[in-house]
């Protein structure tokens, strides 16, 4: 089960609202390669893994991704404070705003609601871990794209942290793959 700590894993302190950037960053929350997808993927895959070390990695990385979901939601929350209707329209945020106001809703930047079809979970351990390696690269690439679109240093600081975590997770899943292959699963 889960314990919640009332702190962000890494600080998020955004000084300047920016609804256009918030819209792009939605994908890091509810997009196919976002944090909700990552948490859902790993926390579901772990049940049928044959090795405790692999279960450990999936449980602990999956739990960390829930913390990252919180960070991304915090970024979006802070980017959408105190907006006028003009700012909402100018930022292209109006299509999201109609259904959600400035609330937090897991969808992609293009407006596709989060769907579990973004993930795979199979009792075939090698298939699932291979999916996880791909997932971490896709997330890293998604964060690279956000950095291309953003010139806000407060946002970029938090995004770079999240991006670096994907790189580390990729490393851990590589080790999990080796563990599985050594045991010939």
């Amino acid at each position: 089960m889960w314990i919640y700590e009332k702190k962000l894993q890494h600080p998020v302190n955004i000084k300047n609202p920016n609804p256009k950037l918030a819209k792009a960053i939605l994908s890091a929350l509810g997009g196919p390669d976002g944090e909700l997808a990552a948490a859902t993927r790993y926390l579901n895959q772990r049940y049928t893994m044959p090795d405790g070390r692999v279960i450990g990695v999936l449980t602990d990385v999956g739990s960390e991704e829930l913390g990252h979901m919180e960070m991304v939601a915090s970024i979006i929350y802070q980017l959408t404070r105190n907006l006028s209707p003009e700012e909402i329209k100018a930022g292209g945020f109006d299509t999201y705003f109609v259904d959600h106001g400035t609330g937090i809703y897991p969808s992609s930047a293009a407006g596709v609601p989060f769907h579990a079809m973004a993930i795979a979970s199979k009792s075939d351990a090698l298939a699932s871990i291979t999916e996880d390696l791909a997932a971490e690269q896709k997330a890293r690439a998604m964060y690279d794209n956000i950095l291309r679109l953003s010139d806000d240093p407060d946002v970029n600081e938090a995004i770079r942290f999240l991006r670096q975590r994907e790189v580390v997770h990729f490393q851990r899943f590589g080790e999990a793959m080796n563990i599985l292959m050594d045991k010939k699963f």
């Binding site: 919640y4 450990g56 802070q78 404070r81 851990r172």
Partner: protein, 101 residues
């Protein structure tokens, strides 16, 4: 009082909070490493030291500034777990309002 608690009592709230975030991050990182390297003595020693230091800073922080773990929410006369700020509400944002809850 151990070394970390000694250092901790001289820090401001935001310095303490930042130190806790740093130590908790190191702890998480080591947990992931230990998951795939469970026999690493070096990692285990580093982990134990990190947990000890984190506990000290958490004790000082929660006594002065409110709960990060729910149990610390019962330290005063009322249930402080529900008090603002919640982690996504930073000081620069104006919609937190003046009330504690």
């Amino acid at each position: 009082m151990n070394n970390s608690q000694n250092n901790a009592t001289n820090l401001t709230q935001s310095e303490l909070y930042r130190k806790i975030q740093e130590l908790a991050f190191v702890k998480t990182e080591l947990e992931l490493f230990l998951d795939t390297h469970p026999d690493s003595k070096v990692a285990m020693d580093y982990y134990r030291d990190t947990v000890d230091a984190l506990k000290s800073y958490m004790t000082v922080y929660q006594a002065e500034h409110g709960p990060i773990h729910a149990e610390a929410g019962a330290m005063g006369g009322t249930w402080r777990w529900v008090d603002k700020p919640w982690p996504w509400q930073n000081e620069k944002m104006t919609d937190r309002g003046e009330d504690r809850r």
